[in-house]
């Protein structure tokens, strides 16, 4: 059976990627998956060697052929996205890719070629295989690309006989987040003890229960507001989401990032490293990650 832990946060910048990278140093037999395709950062800590690059094709984009166009105005009338300007030129940024103009044009003057909207990569990094992607700037279809990288990560885990996929999720609760958590084993929500951190965590927690996924909480920078951290633990209890760890504010995370390393490479003997190791033991041993009740710590911790 392949387990997949997805690390999310609702609010951006709470430390998802730094933590995921640290966990990957501890987890043996794991496929790493960066599902934040919109602003992927994991590769900066992993220096992956890209083995395979594949284009990600999105839907079609309308393009008016001025040679054929009679400027009758039908396309501008039917387009609900205001994507065709007075000169009968399609604004790619506004085009939704619905193709209604293509079908309604009496002169058949509008083409609809599929567009490349990004790339995805199969790579080798220091701890094993990694699947990641890059969505083109200002592109749509981020949810589709997220589903694609997760599917490839699962294929890879099956091929290699690996039991765990670690997925670094995107911020928010919309399309790419929904795509990154459907069918996962469990979620780890990384939260900061701030009013906005709690607010955003609650929305992700609701999304998790909407999709019936078990969740765990990890409080980052807990010492910036210890009372708020206790409040998060209380809220977690109500939502049946245990707090698996509290990490103090520590600029070593930033320094490790500057060095292009995870915390275990940068400061293997530090208190911070020991704290994260304990958190990982908690996660691996949690009921959420062991629905069958089988616990084999040796096989999952280096």
């Amino acid at each position: 059976m392949i387990n997949e832990l997805v690390i999310v946060s609702g609010k951006g910048g709470t430390g998802k990627t730094s933590l995921t990278a640290a966990f990957s140093a501890l987890a043996k037999g794991t496929v790493l998956c960066d599902a934040d395709v919109d602003a992927a950062d994991m590769h900066l800590l992993m220096q992956p060697k890209i083995c395979q690059t594949t284009d990600f094709m999105g839907g079609g984009q309308a393009c008016v052929d001025p040679q054929v166009c009679t400027q009758c105005g039908t396309c501008r009338d039917v387009c609900r996205f205001g994507a065709i300007d007075e000169t009968f030129t399609v604004q790619p940024i506004l085009c939704e890719g619905c193709g209604v103009c293509v079908d309604m044009c009496p002169e058949k003057a509008i083409g609809f070629e599929p567009q490349k909207c990004g790339e995805w990569y199969l790579s080798d990094c220091k701890y094993g295989p990694m699947v990641h992607a890059r969505l083109g700037i200002a592109e749509e279809n981020s949810g589709k690309l997220v589903s694609l990288v997760r599917k490839e990560a699962r294929n890879l885990a099956e091929q290699k006989g690996y039991g765990l996929i670690l997925t670094d999720g995107p911020p928010g609760i919309g399309c790419p987040v929904i795509a990154s958590l459907s069918g996962a084993t469990a979620l780890l929500i990384v939260v900061e003890p701030t009013v906005s951190g709690i607010h955003d965590m609650l929305r992700v927690a609701e999304l998790a229960s909407h999709f019936k996924l078990p969740g765990m909480l990890c409080i980052n920078k807990f010492d910036l507001n210890p009372e708020m951290s206790d409040k998060i633990a209380d809220i977690g209890q109500k939502h049946n989401m245990p707090v698996v760890g509290r990490i103090p504010f520590d600029s070593s995370f930033v320094q490790a990032m500057v060095a292009g390393q995870n915390i275990f490479e940068y400061q293997p003997e530090s208190q911070l490293s020991k704290t994260i190791q304990k958190i990982w033991t908690q996660i691996i041993g949690s009921p959420a990650m062991n629905s069958m009740g089988v616990l084999d710590l040796q096989s999952t911790i280096r």
Binding site: K11, A39, V78, L135, A138, I178, R203, E206
Partner: protein, 284 residues
């Protein structure tokens, strides 16, 4: 004048900059929180909300009495939101992009459009600020239509500050398209720099002038500044890491209220943007 406060990376301080700048400027303005997935500005601004509206997007409804099972609707739909199975027409509202194509091609006039709830918009005031934000329904995937609706809430002639969502894909474009200035907020870390580069590419694509705020400016390297210089993007403000700022933020307090020395700095930030917009922009 419309200023969009954006960043590639999340958690860099967009909301902090947008709310503090709005509070520091002492004339009428509109603040729109367009991060409809995770709206946070209200937590710091604490406006008195006076209005709430539900936002819907049109999706097809099929009248099976009229339907002749011609499949024209399924053929035009690029999003697989309508299929015909046997003698049934199945509609998947969550896949529908509300393009209206199916209603146009139905020869039997069997398709009407009904509303699907995307979320809600709340509006209110705090002193000189008119505030509006969208909250996307949990489980909803489509943010851009709700973001566009939030932007339409700016009705007066007063300047507008938009708190944009993170990233560089469609929600960000919906929150920055057609604005006069993009204020990018980043941190001077490798992640901050990498995601800033993506955001700058997006801003260039839109052809909007931009400027930069570097948050937690002493936690990292000088690479962000060097990059900004090479791209000709002016650094308009630096906010050093200060435990007092972080703790005030954690309680939902703004810098302008807790650390009054910042009020002038945020006013100055706004004035600099005004000048850049009048002069035709920092970076084009």
């Amino acid at each position: 004048m419309i200023i969009s406060v954006a960043s590639g990376k999340g958690g860099t301080g967009k909301t902090t900059v947008a709310t503090n700048m709005a509070l520091a400027v002492e004339h009428d303005l509109t603040l729109l929180d367009c991060d409809v997935e995770e709206p946070n500005a209200h937590l710091f601004l604490q406006p008195a909300m006076t209005e709430k509206i539900q936002v819907e997007t049109p999706v097809p409804h099929i009248d099976m009495e009229k339907c002749s099972l011609c499949r024209n609707c399924a053929a035009i739909c690029r999003f697989s939101a309508i299929t015909v199975v046997g003698k049934n027409v199945l509609v998947f509202p969550e896949l529908c992009h509300s393009c209206g194509g199916c209603t146009l091609v139905c020869p039997e006039d069997a398709i009407t459009e009904v509303g699907r709830v995307l979320g809600e918009i709340e509006s209110g005031r705090r002193d000189h600020i008119f505030f509006s934000h969208g909250r996307m329904r949990i489980g909803e995937a489509m943010a851009p239509p709700l973001i566009k609706k939030v932007r339409s809430m700016a009705v007066s002639d007063a300047p507008v500050i938009i708190d944009a969502p993170p990233g560089t894909s469609c929600p960000v474009i919906a929150a920055t398209y057609g604005v006069d200035f993009v204020l990018l907020v980043t941190e001077p870390t490798p992640f901050g720099l990498h995601d800033l580069q993506l955001a700058v590419e997006a801003v260039k694509l839109l052809g909007i002038p931009s400027g930069l705020v570097i948050n937690r400016s002493d936690l990292g390297t000088d690479d962000v500044k060097e990059y900004a210089r090479s791209e000709g993007i002016p650094v308009l403000m630096e906010i050093p890491f200060d435990r007092k700022i972080a703790e005030a933020y954690s309680h939902g307090k703004t810098m302008v209220e807790e650390l009054p020395e910042w009020a002038g700095k945020f006013q100055n930030l706004y004035t600099q943007i005004e000048r850049l917009v009048q002069a035709g922009g920092g970076m084009q």
